[in-house]
Symmetry: C2
Subunit: 526 residues, 2 copies
């Protein structure tokens, strides 16, 4: 006898993908629970059948208090190597609507990633703004173990991972590679698995170093993101990936936009001297076969130098800083990133409003103006008055010109505002990472401040106290190097995007002026 | 003991003009009923005193059925010289808030003009559109006496008033004067009367012929309009004057706008070969003293060649046309003016919408964009990062540029759309006159069609029938001459206004492009 299932969340089927649209609260008959890939084949009350994500369903146990069925079964409590308790809830969205992968290890890891949308659903979100994920407080230092666990921890033996900080012209800086890394994402292809039942998009990524393309699905990018966040998130801003989306994910516009955003994300990661040289990032870009990829993934997932432990890798070439200095710097960066976040949000807000106006009411109005001129011209033409056509020809041309302007207007935000908003969205995402970084810093500063008391209480000894001072100084050098990296990139990015925006705006207004000048020339001088 | 009065309509006092704001249904104490000029001095329940228009009040008789007091006493039934019954209701608005004039005769005549606003009130109307009065069916031929009264009437003896119609290159045309007439309206001055209690605006009008200025108040223009409408309204479109307005009528913008519209109206009348050469129009422009003005007014008001009688003055030089031809022409013009009216309304509609957007939300958005850039620049400036100011200087300049563009945008409709809308409003007003002209025509055509039956019935004889044929032919020549005048003016006006509009639009967009180009040049090339 078939099992029944209760729908926990709305799910909209991707057309032509064997899926079944279901609504929260609906009851289904489970036809096949073992279809694989996190999918269940089910039938609704209207006898329509199709695949539904397992996590969207509660199978068998209706209203029972024993734990919420398969949905809650994906909620796992983990006590990681650093002693952090992190409750991870299974995502209700997935890149390709699948929860499977080449190896099991990555599944559980991937499932662990939580990207609940701010606006509560995959559809109805605007092109920008809400598409940026709110970074979770992944490493809430204050909620985790006492900072002394990190401040006093011995640095891992592997010196290959050491992160030197030099003093450059602008102050503390990371070690920048001699030849900068970049990559090109191209050729998105729809691929199938589960004997054609499920489809996904595969991208080709070609790094500038090897010039040898590797293939990755969105979920692999997401895996990389999770690894980078885990490893560097306490010290470096790791911006979130472009949103997942269940519906419309095979539409051309969506694929193009996602690829553009993945490209921006990858380029930003490539530009980062610490991230780009990390093993996990190199693995992602340069693995040679499935075996190497699998092995590398396992190694990356076992990496213990994650969270605040990353600071133990920092090796500043400069003199030790005291806690007061560290605190002051931290406050300064906190202030800057907060203010910039406000500024970026403001620009995004007005940008979205402007986008809507420029693609909606404004071109409609220009179309109406153009049509009104053309209509009047048509009426005038019926007069049969001698010399009428000198007016009506010009009037029709003017009408057509305004209709053309309407078309240009409608497309314009894609040509200029788009890049301004994309760059600011990236920065919003980057800036959203700073509160976590700052809080790790502040907790460490507080701990170091009470070091004397800890010594008196016999909890730490004098050499521990010295270690703590050394570690907090390293943290500050790390933060300063990162802020200098951030500033230099920011100045470059905003210079570039503002120039592009203004160039395109100039072209736009010049084009309108030229078109209207041509229309004007059609009129006979009085 | 003082009388009491009941307020019939809301009235808003003109500040500094000794008036009292009252609301419908309010009860007032009448302090002085003999203040003159149609005003009553009254006190409200809050013991505030001031002048209120007599017509807004019902004095003494509350709720009595005997006729509504002074308000209804201004409603007069007139049986005019042409046997038309026209019930005229006193206006509740006046140019200067006054109902008086230099001589009594003009008062009753002026009071007889009714301009009830379409939107029901003097305030809250938009700059265009609703400001155009709906022409009343002043000469509803079908409701008046049988068309035969006109068709068979003997032409008045005064041959000086004859209106010849020639056959020109474009068909029937009026006799155009050798030197075209125009006038300049300037120097609006606030004048007082009633010992300074009441104020009004006086304009100086200088005709191109005499170059000697004459002074007129709005109400004199309105008197002229009434005379022209009465005399020529059956044959020529007499566009209505710019709206009367009770509140805000001494504000600079209002005075400027009214003067501009009076100028446009006068120039249009000056351009008309029949109107410009009429006695009443010449009187208005060239009277030498008050005595001549008064005398001329009396003569004009006694003129009997008014309404459809004007057709008896038409003297075509060409062969008589038959009723079928006349009907066909009439149908053709009816169609054209109706279609053009639709076209003009459409353009006015989208123009008003566009005006609102260009002066409201759009510049606000540009201001916000500009401010967002400047704010971001301010934040960036706090970074103290070397070389920051190369970005922030340019970013601030860009912000300021967008704020300047917002200001230009806000003013722009006054520079371009304004003239387009004014011209179209004028044409809307002109086109609104055609249904009456067409209906006079159609009624006459119908009458001529049944001429044979009238002859059989012994109501008219064969010579009468011949007269009717002659008269309807003259009517058609008049209509054709008028339409040719209309077309030639229309082609001129639309050519002129479209060129002006496009010139200003080109300047506008070019200015924006240039400003943005300057902002762009502030950025350092990457």
């Amino acid at each position: 006898m078939a099992l029944t299932a209760w729908v926990l969340y709305d799910f909209t089927a991707e057309p032509g993908n064997n899926e079944l649209t279901v609504r929260e609260g609906e009851t289904l008959t489970v036809l096949d629970r073992n279809v694989g890939g996190g999918w269940v084949e089910a039938q609704n009350s209207r006898r329509q059948t199709g695949l539904v994500p397992e996590d969207y369903l509660q199978v068998g146990h209706f209203g029972s208090s024993e734990g919420g069925g398969s949905h809650v079964s994906n909620t796992t409590e983990q006590w990681d190597s650093r002693g952090h308790t992190s409750t991870r809830q299974a995502t209700v969205e997935d890149d390709d609507g699948e929860w499977d992968d080449w190896d099991d290890q990555s599944v559980s890891s991937y499932r662990g990633s939580c990207h609940v949308d701010e606006d509560g659903g995959p559809s109805g979100r605007s092109a920008y703004g809400s598409s940026v994920k709110i970074p979770r407080n992944k490493f809430p230092f204050s909620k985790g173990p006492n900072p002394e666990v990190f401040l006093l921890a011995k640095p891992p033996a592997n010196s290959r991972d050491r992160l030197p900080v030099y003093i450059g012209e602008v102050g503390p800086v990371w070690l920048y590679p001699t030849s900068p890394l970049d990559c090109v994402i191209a050729d998105p292809r729809k691929e199938s698995k589960l004997y054609g039942l499920k489809s996904f998009i595969e991208y080709q990524i070609t790094p500038s170093t090897t010039n040898r393309p590797v293939n990755h699905r969105y979920k692999h990018f997401d895996w990389l993101y999770e690894r980078l966040l885990e490893k560097f998130g306490s010290a470096l801003p790791i911006p979130s990936l472009p949103d997942k989306q269940v519906t419309g994910r095979f539409e051309e516009d969506f694929i193009r936009m996602r690829m553009e955003r993945l490209q921006a994300w990858m380029s930003r990661m490539c530009r980062h001297p610490v991230v780009s040289q990390s093993d996990v990032f190199q693995l992602f870009l340069t693995y040679r076969d499935e075996k190497e990829w699998k092995m590398g993934k396992r190694t990356a997932e076992k990496d213990e130098t994650v969270g605040p432990m990353i600071f133990s890798m920092i090796e500043p070439e400069a003199a030790e800083l005291d806690a007061t200095h560290v605190e002051h710097r931290c406050e300064q960066y906190s202030q800057f990133t907060k203010l910039m976040d406000d500024g970026v949000r403001e620009l995004l807000n007005v940008g979205h409003t402007h986008w809507k106006r420029c693609t909606g009411p404004l071109p409609k109005e220009y179309e109406r103006i153009g049509r009104a001129f053309r209509n009047l011209s048509t009426v005038f033409n019926t007069s049969k008055y001698p010399g009428e056509e000198t007016l009506t020809d010009a009037l029709t041309a003017t009408g057509t010109t305004y209709e053309e302007i309407a078309q240009i207007m409608k497309q314009q935000p894609n040509n200029d505002l788009h890049f301004l908003l994309e760059t600011n969205s990236e920065y919003k995402s980057l800036l959203g990472c700073f509160p976590d970084i700052i809080s790790v810093h502040k907790a460490a500063v507080e701990k170091v401040k009470e070091a004397d008391r800890l010594v008196s209480a016999g909890k730490i000894d004098h050499s521990d106290r010295k270690s703590m001072n050394h570690r907090i100084s390293s943290m500050s050098y790390s933060l300063q190097a990162e802020m200098n990296h951030f500033h230099s990139n920011r100045i470059y990015d905003y210079n570039r995007v503002m120039q592009l925006y203004l160039e395109r705006q100039v072209e736009f207004y010049q084009q309108i002026a030229d078109k209207l000048r041509t229309a004007l020339s059609q009129f006979t001088t009085l």
